[in-house]
Symmetry: C2
Subunit: 163 residues, 2 copies
């Protein structure tokens, strides 16, 4: 640490916040965006705890599930549906193709693009991830209780309006 930058504040009333003490969040307390980030991060970490053991990355789940539900989908449509930039999808697909969880077939009608499908191996992996996701969602269900549909409705509206 560069101690020279630390001012010797004789300020006797400089109170160092410590562990157990509640930290004041001020306006932050009422900002939806702030709590959205915290909740997303907590949910993501919890999901990773469930899948972390196997060779399955959390980012794969949405991609595999969407391809499963939309055989023949293109990378662009997949990018939009999964809410990730197209340039983020490229390396994910490269890995999924390399692991032979996904296959692609040329689209003669548009040579720039191609159609995506799960391989049988991919369907298996998806089944495993879906089990983790279901487990994870059960945890979330218990937390949000009967407000789940309302919560999802609100989140969906946020996406629809802001995105």
């Amino acid at each position: 640490m560069d101690k020279t930058e630390i001012s010797k504040g004789g300020s006797a009333r400089a109170r160092v916040k410590d562990d157990g003490k509640p930290v004041l969040l001020g306006e932050l307390e009422n900002y939806v965006g702030f709590h959205l980030r915290l909740a997303q991060s907590a949910s993501f970490k919890a999901f990773r705890r469930l899948t972390g053991e196997s060779d399955l990355r959390p980012g794969w789940f949405a991609v595999l599930a969407i391809i499963h539900n939309n055989p023949g989908i293109t990378p662009m449509a997949l990018s939009r549906a999964s809410g990730r930039d197209k340039s983020t999808i490229t390396p994910v697909l490269r890995e999924l193709l390399r692991e032979e969880l996904v296959r692609r077939s040329a689209n003669p009608a548009d040579k720039r693009s191609y159609a995506l499908f799960l391989t049988p191996h991919g369907e298996e992996k998806l089944a495993h991830l879906a089990a983790c996701a279901a487990e994870h969602d059960r945890e979330l269900d218990e937390i949000v209780g009967d407000k789940k549909q309302e919560l999802i409705r609100l989140l969906r509206r946020i996406v629809a309006v802001l995105d």
Copy 2:
């Protein structure tokens, strides 16, 4: 031109999903975690649209606001309060110190740690960011309407239980 109905010649009925067509999300549709990620991402992008013009990074806002509300807070407590790993806080603080938005003073009682404060310049920047945040939150308010407190309550519970 509606290309979506174009299915490739001969081969099976591989259907290429395209633009306007709804993509089937299947189980994903009812997963809180999935919608949390989409909403967080949309909210973050919207916030960045508001701050992007100036030299203010979105990640700074929570940090500056928390220091403002808790003068003398330590990096560790800040890390916990802002929901980011301590190793993520280090470079943020380095930058804020470099820009002289934040100053730190040694804590004689524990030489490992130090106390953080906003400089007058930091208070100014925070005011600007707070204006963006308030603007952003107004957008969110309109979207969630009178369900805001309920939404925040649910998000907070997700964090409390899962984190």
